[in-house]
Structures are given as structure tokens and as C-alpha cells.
């Protein structure tokens, strides 16, 4: 787009102008501009709790995830030891069951809420927002339900 015109009026130069003072070109409006009627007040604390949850779950996740990575990948023989027997051995203890459950729930909700804010920040069309968020919430709910089910119904004697 950069032109190298010196001391020139490029705009008035064209002889056949499709636009005139009576027929101006449409201006480019930014997405979702604020007017007198928008946004409507919802009077809930949802966004505040969402914001707080991100901070708190983030701190807890640092401990949970680093602990998980250490156990799975570093300590006691590294990643080679991980197999069905290893997982079965860990999930025999309720402590590790709840560790993994907390990690699953917090990571999914933390990531889900993060993606929700990303969608809110970047999706311009109202329809795009609705569809992306529906997809996101479905995926989050499905993963949480499936994961919780696996943790609690895990049977080490499965053949």
C-alpha cells in the first residue's frame, strides 16, 4: 500500500471517482462498538470468580503438574517404567486417584476458561462466539466426565 508520492494529493487525483460527497464510501466500523444500549448489565460476579479461579487453580496446577511430570518422567527409572502395571499400582491408592482427579478438573476448567476468554477477545461475530463456545464447553464437559469415570471405575484386573 505504501506509495512514494512527494508533495502530492493522491486522493483527488483520480478522474472517475465512484464516491462523491453525496455518495460517500462506507466507513469501516470496529467490531461490537459500544452504544447507549450496550452492553447490558448482568449484575453477577461470574467474571470475578472466573478471574480468581484462574489465579488460584494456576498456583495449584504448578504443584500438581510438576509433581506428576517428576513421577512419570524423571524419578525411579524415567518414562520407560510407565505401563499398565505402573498406572494400576498408582491408582490403587486413593491419594493418587484424587491427585489425578484434581489435576484433570483444574487443568480442564483452567484451560477451558482461558480459551473462553480468548474466544471473547478474538471472535468478532456473535454467531462465531456462540459456536466456538458451544464446541469448547462440550469438549471440556466430555473430557472431564470421561476422565473422572476412568479414574474411579479403573479395574486393574481387566483383560
Amino acid at each position: 500500500m505504501s506509495t512514494d508520492i512527494t508533495d502530492a494529493v493522491e486522493l483527488t487525483g483520480s478522474s472517475v471517482a465512484p464516491y462523491s460527497p453525496e455518495n460517500p464510501a462506507p466507513v469501516i466500523e470496529p467490531p461490537r462498538a459500544r452504544t447507549k444500549r450496550t452492553p447490558r448489565s448482568t449484575r453477577t460476579n461470574f467474571e470475578m470468580y472466573g478471574w480468581l479461579f484462574m489465579r488460584l487453580s494456576g498456583v495449584v496446577l504448578v504443584v500438581l503438574v510438576i509433581g506428576h511430570l517428576l513421577i512419570q518422567l524423571v524419578l525411579d527409572g524415567g518414562v520407560q517404567k510407565v505401563g499398565f502395571a505402573f498406572v494400576a499400582g498408582r491408582w490403587a491408592s486413593p491419594f493418587w486417584q484424587y491427585w489425578d482427579l484434581a489435576m484433570l478438573w483444574l487443568a480442564m476448567l483452567h484451560g477451558g476458561n482461558g480459551l473462553r476468554t480468548v474466544i471473547n477477545d478474538y471472535a468478532e461475530q456473535a454467531n462465531t462466539r456462540v459456536w466456538l463456545k458451544t464446541l469448547l464447553f462440550t469438549a471440556v464437559a466430555f473430557t472431564i466426565v470421561l476422565g473422572s469415570l476412568v479414574i474411579f471405575t479403573f479395574d486393574p484386573n481387566i483383560r
Partner: protein, 260 residues
């Protein structure tokens, strides 16, 4: 200057020197201005203007020189031209600044200096944008003193410490440099934006004001302070040096401490 023992002569020659030096001080800069005229074309375009200018002058002076001497169709806002009215916030070399507070020498005059309208607001012509959504957000935080009970018979007194609490946010000149530098605002105009929050902060932390609760409630909503991603663009952009992000965080903290 060479004859120190004859003051009259010296004065004369130094004045002459100064005049001669001024001419030689002029440098040629290229101003690359983003121009848009809906009455001519639907497309905005970059137009380069080369002009001689003193590097100690400001970008606003360069814009004036273009408008007055080169091309009278160039359109931009300015009122006081001294950094108080907040009319001439533009994007200079990709950063939001006041054209009247930016010296040519401070922004590398070797390269073309780009001047664009601020982002996130409808461009009406050249550097002029529609400020209505910006001022709507400002109105929505109720930027005026709210009190209960009877009017006192004398002035509402305030201690120096209480005044100091919100001193930083009283400096706002509503130029929209912060709001139009905010990436959240670029993509979603429903967000209040930094300027509205700064002006809410100015009353929320004012000991004389009693509408703080209402204002916090307004900013607690889904397009309020919780949409801030603390990118600090607003603090960098503010021509008055207001710590905008800090003010937004203080409102967040007030909301949280109010609930817990």
C-alpha cells in the same frame, strides 16, 4: 560571539548567527500519513510528504506545515496544541502519542515517520476518528461526584493523604491514547477500556464520593475490569504518564476485597 568586548555588536552578530543556524538546522523528514476520504475512495492509503523542519519541532508542527503549505485537504483534530486538551492523539510510528508532545528528533527522523489514526474507533476522515463509543464508555462509569444526604453549607474538605490516593488518575485528559492501544478494545468495543476505568478509579478512591459501590458494580460486569489482560499497552501509551494498568488492578483489588 567573536568580539566579547563590544556588547552591542556581539548581540547583533549572535542574532545573525542564530538566524543563519536556524536555516541550517532544518532537516528533511518524510511524513507517511494514513489518509482516508470516503468521499473519494473506500480505501485508506499511505501518502508520503517530504518537508524541511526543525528537528526540535513537534509532529503536530509537521502536520500543520502539510495542511497549511502542502495539502489543505489533510484532516486532523487539535485544539490547544500543548498536550492539555487531548484532541490530537494519533498513532506515530506504531505507538499512540499526542502529536503535540512528540518531538521530531525523538522519533528517528532518518526514516519515514508514520502517522495513522488511533485504532479501534471508526475512521471518519484521515486522522479523525469517531469518539462516540469512547465517550459512551466514559459516561457509563458515571464520572461525576455522587453524594448522599443534604448538601453541606461549606466545601467538602479532604486531607492531603486522601487526595493523594487518586491523584494519578485525575491527570486524564480523555485523549483515548490508552483505550485505542488496548488489544482487547480493538477486537471488542464493548469493553469499557482503560480510560473509562481510570476515570471510575478517580471517583471510587475519592473519600468525598459515595457512589463507589455503584461504579464497582458497573465495572464488575462481563465487559468491565476483568477483561483487562495487563498487557501494559495503556500505561505505555498514556501521554500524561498515568499508571493506567495499576489503576485497573486497584479497581480489581477493590472488587475482590469488597467480596471477601
Amino acid at each position: 560571539m567573536s568580539t566579547p568586548n563590544s556588547p552591542t555588536l556581539d548581540k547583533h552578530s549572535s542574532a545573525l548567527d542564530a538566524a543563519e543556524n536556524t536555516a541550517s538546522h532544518l532537516i528533511t523528514v518524510t511524513l507517511r500519513v494514513r489518509r482516508f476520504n470516503p468521499e473519494v475512495s473506500a480505501e485508506a492509503e499511505w501518502v508520503d510528504y517530504r518537508l524541511p523542519i526543525d528537528p526540535k519541532e513537534r509532529v503536530l508542527d509537521a502536520l500543520h506545515k502539510i495542511k497549511w503549505e502542502i495539502d489543505g485537504t489533510l484532516t486532523f483534530r487539535r485544539s490547544c496544541a500543548h498536550g492539555v486538551c487531548g484532541s490530537d492523539a494519533v498513532r506515530i510510528n506504531g505507538r499512540n502519542r499526542l502529536a503535540c508532545k512528540t518531538l521530531i528528533k525523538d522519533i528517528n527522523p532518518e526514516k519515514p515517520i508514520t502517522v495513522e489514526p488511533i485504532k479501534g474507533l471508526t475512521v471518519l476522515k484521515d486522522l479523525v476518528v469517531d469518539m462516540d463509543p469512547f465517550f459512551q464508555a466514559y459516561r457509563d462509569v458515571m464520572p461525576f461526584l455522587i453524594t448522599k444526604g443534604n448538601e453541606p453549607t461549606r466545601e467538602r474538605l479532604q486531607s492531603a493523604e486522601d487526595r493523594e490516593r487518586f491523584d494519578d488518575t485525575t491527570k486524564c485528559i480523555l485523549c483515548a491514547a490508552c483505550t485505542s492501544s488496548c488489544p482487547v478494545f480493538w477486537n471488542d468495543g464493548q469493553y469499557f477500556g482503560p480510560a473509562a476505568i481510570v476515570n471510575a478509579h478517580r471517583f471510587i478512591f475519592d473519600s468525598r464520593d459515595e457512589g463507589g459501590e455503584q461504579r464497582l458494580e458497573i465495572l464488575n460486569d462481563k465487559d468491565g475490569v476483568w477483561r483487562c489482560r495487563t498487557t501494559f499497552n495503556c500505561t505505555d501509551a498514556c501521554p500524561r504518564g498515568i499508571e493506567v494498568t495499576k489503576a485497573i488492578q486497584e479497581v480489581k483489588r477493590a472488587l475482590i476485597t469488597r467480596r471477601f
